[in-house]
Assembly symmetry: C2
Homo-oligomer: 360 residues x 2
């Protein structure tokens, strides 16, 4: 049963351990197993979900003690952060944890991978995301569109931020949507494409929201997409290069990923649609001359992705994969610029959206 | 002699070539040589500057023709962009240039390195930056502080943008500073540190501006720093990890770099000061336990940097380099979090700035 708040969940964790001690039992924590063996693709919700398998982590157990202490240490830091209304980066949490246990020469942690792991465990134990536990990954990305939010007491109009846009924070849990006039969202992997659409006032003409990062879809961005979709019923369209990595970006936003299976509920957005660049676009918009030949690593990545449970039985996706293999080539979004600098804004995107040429 | 505007410079370039043709001469362009042999450190202005050596690029010359055509093609694109008030990314320019010359099988360009080079040549020829020629690199970074700007008709208050801040565009040439109340600027290499300072309202308490990227100091950020310094006389402080790369970030902002020697005037900021993390901070703030041992690649980078003309005769910097070598270790900014999550905001930065513990 989920606690009312992250803080209550953390206090519950502490109380459980105190009870173990008072009863003279070996203090322990029960944690769901985060491994492929315990992850499955749920066909109904269309999300990658964590199974029921759990493991017990005990204090008096030479194999468990280190992780046990790390988890509790990170839990303590999380509670301190919540109490002081502060947020720490994952790297901060590492340095806050990294110290020698009194009277010994043993470090609580030696590498950030250990605290990162402990934080993911804490997400499982408390059923709250690390953002809700006041621990953040890096910030990245920009947004523009007809939306007014309130954040930290500031009213922020995403349509009135000049050429830069609003810089997306690592944690968007506390922002409030005051007014959402936009009708849909385009998320693009490339900041340069975002600047193109922004300069052309694409979001204004089409009444949509444009969001980009540079390369990486941060959790801040994913949660922003998720909230716009679930709280305001906005369709989300994904715009990436025509290559296995672009499709992987789409896949993670839509279905989740193995390492985030325990967060699928708040992270995955099964309704997102793939807007482009598709294999058909390459033909329809005469872009073959800008093909980049697939490298062996691209080919094996393509094979991997086409074998994913959620793509395996999808005819439209298998068709895309086959065409990419037959082309033996990938293509970048910016290849559209060869047709004119604003071809993407004036023709490609409006046409694709009007004709609903989307892949699900 | 510099033209009044980028457009006039581009027209001048075209006219020169037409004149060559009308006179029956071999059409040519004169370009400053961009190589170490023509770059020197100017002790008076404290900037890396380009020398007087030039080379002639001719149309009827088998060794020159390709670059000649590439340069003119990029010049044409730049003029079209300026005429239509649009900006293109470097990748866009590549795709806009990439086509076969009519009646041949020869591509004007095969790789982006070629258009990037042609754009740098165009900067030299016109004496305008690529941003002024409407060609942009990637956008990155966030800013917050008591500043109001006007950009694309929007009034934007950098102190009222919630937890995200203003997302810095790739091109800041056209923003107007309407009101600058802040007293100084801190530029930090890490977005996570920016979020720490922002959550603690450091810029509000200290009346400063905080700017970050993630890793890369984009030209948008460098020009923003430069403009805040030159137009509003704000001191600029650099906050990086204690490692050779952090010092290199400082070095490029302060003195420029070889590839940007021709842009030193508008890019380098000789007055910037290094705020930290310094070797002395490591000792004063008891951070040695968070040392990370230097790898061979760090050691050779350190050697390289300490041999730079502008560091070679600097006692304070040679002292820093020696201490780093003696420690045989580097240290991350976030190691300060081991002293408490807001130690950097409450103690480290205010103390360093009050005592003016800066390295020039």
């Amino acid at each position: 049963m989920k606690s009312e708040s992250p803080k209550k969940a953390l206090i519950g964790l502490g109380k459980g351990i105190v009870q173990d001690i008072e009863k003279g039992q070996n203090p322990s924590i029960e944690i769901s197993i985060r491994a492929l063996s315990n992850v499955s693709f749920d066909k109904k919700t269309k999300k990658l979900l964590l199974g029921e398998k759990t493991s017990k982590r005990e204090f008096f157990n030479a194999g468990h003690i280190k992780k046990f202490v790390q988890t509790l240490e990170v839990a303590k830091i999380s509670k301190d952060l919540i109490d002081s209304s502060k947020h720490a980066s994952l790297r901060d949490v590492f340095y806050m944890t990294k110290r020698t246990i009194q009277g010994t020469k043993i470090n609580i942690v030696d590498e950030q991978a250990e605290t990162d792991n402990a934080i993911e465990d804490l997400e499982l134990i408390t059923d709250f995301s690390r953002e809700q536990l006041n621990m953040n990954a890096n910030k990245m990305g920009s947004v523009a569109g007809r939306v007014i939010i309130e954040d930290k007491g500031d009213a922020i109009d995403w349509s009135k931020l000049g050429s830069g846009g609003w810089s997306i924070p690592s944690n968007v849990e506390e922002i409030e949507f005051k007014k959402v006039s936009a009708k849909y969202v385009i998320y693009m992997e490339k900041a340069a494409v975002w600047e193109r659409l922004h300069e052309d006032k694409f979001w204004d003409k089409q009444n949509c929201i444009i969001i980009s990062s540079q390369g990486q879809t941060t959790r801040g961005i994913r949660r922003l997409l998720q909230r716009l979709h679930s709280e305001h019923s906005l369709p989300i369209y994904i715009l990436t290069d025509f290559d296995p990595y672009g499709i992987y970006i789409y896949s993670v936003i839509k279905f989740g990923s193995i390492s985030l299976a325990h967060m699928a509920e708040s992270m995955a957005i099964p309704d997102v649609k793939f807007l482009g660049i598709s294999a058909d676009d390459v033909i329809n918009y005469d872009l073959k001359k800008h093909f980049i030949t697939l490298k062996p690593v691209d080919v094996s990545r393509l094979k991997q992705i086409s074998d994913y449970d959620w793509f395996k039985n999808s005819k439209p996706w298998q068709r895309q994969f086959k065409m990419m293999r037959d082309f033996n080539a990938k293509l970048e979004i910016q290849a559209l610029s060869s047709r004119g600098i604003s071809f993407i804004t004036d023709k490609y995107l409006p046409e694709k959206i009007r004709k609903e040429e989307l892949i699900d």
